[in-house]
């Protein structure tokens, strides 16, 4: 905190434009272009940033904002055909952007270190950690073999790898993801650089590892008086680590300032709306305010009267034998009923990780281990946990993608198992649908949007001909995409738009239960806000029951009525959302909540229930 104060001062000087000492890294008017057949793509436009010694400068922006390009341009490693069209880069007052290759190479690693996003692919798989460290140390420092070896072990120790002298002999695949990122950091520190460029250094990591790596980086910057430029899409990371922050939008820096100031009192309209779109971890809000630049999408959507429209009719549930009597009333009378729609009893799912003819040599992973809970009609039930905790597997078990290894699932009182007749099972299947994580793989790229949405309706023979065409157009309208999308192909749409198509497809069978498996984790925060709003609206208007799976606690808090916490295949705690966030019972829940970025400093006018769009 005290360093932040001192850097606030720094910022004031910067803004005054007359800093007494030259900045460590000074980027002036940087413009990067990628020439292509459809003209020049300008990835960064007139970007100016200054980094002081001992300072952490965050560069934040959504995908396509040009953040990564800046780091690559500084170090001279732009992917072809990218090139610096204009601008200058100074390192401690000396211009480095026009250097020839050998001179540039002497700067890379020696004076400017770089950390990449994915630790799994950043290390050569065929060489030991030691070989990679030694090679880098001797390339820059010209040490003797034994001195270099001592230094390598020291470095591993400094980045918090236990038993460094033993682990240094190992290969990258013997390290866990977090350990590998520590090794990557050690590698980038080999030659004591003055500047560190970190490009999304924690994005590929789980939240608990993420906070450890951020702590480590902060500590290293302070101890060694480095200057660090950290590039991220995650405001949470920025608020944890950065002294100052530069906000990028469409290749340009729209706002720069001390982190506390920018997050609490954003000046630029984009920053304001970006911050408003961030799910609040500390309180629940009815709707997200939308990022202005994108807001037009939703206003073009035509609202449907679901009470009278095909989509709201539930004729198809008649004769299912569940006898809940809400057959013709349109929407599930959810609030009145507390009965369970989905019940899981002692559910187990095991994957074979090492197959073998011999039983004793087979290895298994218990992805879901004795899990029981039920989802009430009309509620949004959240499942939260880190990657590999088994939360997605549960969603897939319910929807019939996997068959459980033991235990049973009931839907509306009817047990779901393979022994039932195919027709009966199909009738139940139609009532549950799924929205997936990756908008780029969840749509068949070879089909037109209208066929993607129509396929489930056709398959279940729910409508045909002109009626079907009308329904598809209405559905596309309803999810805020508009009927014009119908004849086009998925690749013509952005991630958020694809997710809307995915939702339209899921609604096409008039389901009453929707599994959302990380529906927004591949999306930018502003798009996430739109999709979450849409899901909330649908849930309320159609009375859907929802299983909402996410690793993101703030999102869970905004979306769910009740939450289950998963770890290593087991359900650790189930509770009302508010209770879970304010008075967690299980130790692991408390741990997760502790790791959650606090974001207390965010500007107060975030999500606003009184002003829905």
């Amino acid at each position: 905190m005290e360093s932040m104060a001192s850097n606030m001062q720094n910022t004031v000087e910067q803004n005054a434009g007359a800093s007494p000492s030259t900045p460590l890294l000074d980027i002036r008017g940087l413009t990067v272009e990628f020439p292509g057949r459809r003209g020049n793509l300008v990835a960064a436009r007139d970007v100016s940033l200054a980094l002081a010694k001992g300072e952490i400068l965050g560069v934040v922006g959504e995908s396509g904002a040009g953040k990564s390009t800046i780091a690559n341009a500084v170090i001279g490693l732009l992917d072809p055909p990218g090139r610096m069209a204009s601008g200058e880069v100074y390192l401690a007052g000396r211009r480095i952007d026009a250097l020839r290759l050998p001179a540039m190479r002497a700067i890379r690693g020696r004076r400017i270190g770089m950390i990449f996003q994915d630790p799994l692919t950043s290390l050569d798989p065929l060489q030991t950690i030691e070989a990679q460290l030694l090679e880098t140390i001797t390339a820059h420092l010209g040490m003797t073999e034994s001195a270099a070896q001592r230094r390598a072990v020291e470095l591993l120790d400094a980045v918090g790898i236990p038993e460094p002298s033993a682990r240094i002999k190992q290969y990258p695949h013997q390290f866990s993801g977090g350990m590998r990122q520590r090794a990557v950091i050690a590698l980038s520190l080999c030659a004591q650089p003055e500047v560190l460029l970190a490009d999304e250094p924690t994005t590929a990591l789980d939240v608990s590892i993420q906070s450890q790596i951020l702590d480590l980086m902060r500590q290293l910057v302070r101890e060694r008086a480095l200057g660090m430029l950290i590039i991220t899409h995650d405001i949470g990371v920025i608020s944890e680590i950065a002294d100052r922050v530069a906000v990028m939008y469409c290749g340009a820096v729209v706002e720069t300032g001390a982190t506390a100031q920018v997050l609490a009192r954003p000046a630029h309209a984009y920053t304001k709306s970006l911050i408003a779109a961030i799910p609040r971890p500390d309180r629940k809000t009815a709707r997200f305010r939308l990022v202005q630049q994108h807001a037009t999408v939703e206003s073009t959507a035509r609202r449907l009267d679901v009470k009278t429209h095909w989509l709201g009719q539930r004729r198809s549930f008649d004769g299912d034998g569940d006898g809940d009597g809400d057959g013709d009333s349109g929407v599930d009378s959810s609030n009145a009923s507390n009965a369970a729609l989905v019940e899981l009893e002692n559910l187990c799912m095991r994957f074979t990780t090492v197959p073998s003819v011999f039983k004793s040599r087979r290895r298994y992973l218990d992805a879901v281990d004795d899990v029981s809970f039920s989802i009430r009609r009309g509620e949004v039930f959240g499942l939260v946990g880190e990657s590999g905790s088994g939360k997605s597997t549960i969603g897939r078990l319910i929807c019939g993608i996997h068959a459980p290894h033991a235990g049973r699932i009931r839907f509306a009182g009817v047990p779901l198992d393979a022994r039932g007749s195919r027709r009966a099972l199909n009738r139940l299947r139609r009532q549950m649908q799924m929205v997936f994580q990756d908008p780029f793989s969840s749509l068949n790229g070879r089909m037109r949007v209208r066929d993607i949405v129509a396929e489930p309706i056709r398959f279940h023979r729910m409508a045909e001909g002109a009626q079907l065409r009308a329904i598809v157009l209405d559905l596309l309208d309803y999810v805020g995409l508009g009927g014009a999308a119908a004849p086009r192909f998925p690749h013509e749409f952005s991630g958020g738009q694809r997710q809307r198509i995915s939702i339209a497809r899921a609604l096409a069978t008039r389901p009453r239960f929707l599994v959302c498996d990380e529906p927004t984790s591949a999306l930018d925060v502003s798009i996430q806000a739109q999709i979450l709003n849409l899901l909330k609206d649908l849930q309320q208007e159609l009375g859907l029951t929802m299983l909402f799976i996410s690793h993101d606690l703030p999102v869970i808090r905004q979306m769910c009525d009740r939450v289950g916490v998963m770890k290593s295949g087991r359900l650790r705690e189930v509770n009302d959302t508010e209770t879970l966030f304010t008075a967690p019972r299980h130790e692991y829940t408390r741990h997760l909540l502790d790791l959650m970025p606090k974001l207390d400093i965010l500007s107060g006018d975030g999500g606003d229930g009184d002003n829905p769009n």
């Binding site: 993608i401 997936f436 969840s442 279940h460 497809r505």
Partner: protein, 300 residues
């Protein structure tokens, strides 16, 4: 169509003269082969039009050559240019049909093995592995040899082209099967397939409507490259004397016939069919090579 004209593939095509030339040559040779009876100056199989006195004439521009026979004549007085046209007809026929056969078998096996997995996958891929240990030319030779042993001698002559197609087709399916299986394994876990499963679509529908169109890209590339290879293998088998008989010669048979006259100085009987073969294969290979790079997004 508008979508295609705007695609990167078409743009790439238009900006590569080598590829356009290859496409033009390939198309030209296809057409010429298809309409050989209309295009060729002589019918080399019409005994009435052949005069043994015209045998072993050199090409038109060489000493003793005649304008009537552009590339000279062979030992029986057949016009080499005409036999090339008729020969490439058979070469292309065998090439196309064998690749189509291999593609049908391979794609089907690959889809089943990749989507179903389990023991079926293990068995199919083991078979593929064993066959892959033997070069296609050897497999084709073997199949041809076996059929030769089973069929009576006369029948083999008549069925030679069919036998060749089957032999080459059966020796090529593995490439398709392995590639399709690999892509199917990837596609199978993609979320659009899961979505189809959640909807309750039966497996056959998922495989053919959803997965198949998404694995066809690499299949087309392999098919182009395999077409070139099939033409080469057909020519090789015919050259080795186990392919198309001399009564209706393919390019390979023509080269075999000419090879006997190589040392006595009648080089044209071998060289012109040989050049025709090279030009054809080269053009197809250039197309395949370009298609592979153009369809590989990582190379852009």
């Amino acid at each position: 169509m508008a979508r295609f004209l705007d695609s990167d593939l078409w743009w790439d095509f238009k900006h590569s003269p080598l590829v356009m030339t290859s496409a033009a040559i390939t198309a030209l040779m296809f057409l010429v082969a298809l309409f050989a009876p209309q295009v060729a100056p002589y019918d080399p199989f019409d005994m009435a039009s052949i005069d043994l006195l015209d045998a072993l004439r050199p090409p038109a521009w060489a000493e003793g050559g005649s304008v009537a026979y552009l590339f000279g004549t062979d030992d029986q007085g057949r016009d080499v240019f005409s036999t090339i046209l008729y020969g490439s007809r058979i070469s292309l026929l065998v090439g196309f049909l064998s690749v189509i056969m291999a593609m049908l078998i391979g794609v089907l096996v690959g889809l089943i093995a990749g989507y179903k997995g389990g023991w079926l996958d293990a068995v199919l891929m083991r078979i593929a592995d064993i066959q892959l240990s033997f070069p296609a030319i050897l497999v084709a030779l073997l199949i041809d040899g076996v059929v030769r042993g089973i069929l009576p001698r006369g029948a083999h002559e008549e069925l030679a082209v069919l036998v060749l197609i089957v032999a080459i087709g059966l020796s090529f399916w593995v490439q398709f099967a392995r590639t399709v299986r690999g892509s199917t394994l990837v596609e199978r876990t993609k979320e659009y397939v899961l979505a189809a499963q959640v909807t309750g679509l039966p497996d056959t529908l998922i495989v053919f409507r959803h997965i198949l169109p998404n694995v066809m890209g690499p299949v087309l590339v392999i098919a182009t490259i395999q077409l070139a290879l099939a033409i080469i293998i057909e020519a090789t088998l015919s050259f080795l004397g186990v392919g198309v008989p001399p009564t209706s010669p393919s390019l390979g048979t023509l080269i075999r016939i000419g090879n006997d006259y190589l040392f006595s100085g009648e080089w044209w009987i071998t060289v012109f069919p040989g050049l025709a073969l090279i030009v054809l294969v080269l053009a197809v290979n250039f197309l395949g090579d370009w298609l592979r790079d153009a369809l590989n997004p990582k190379l852009r």
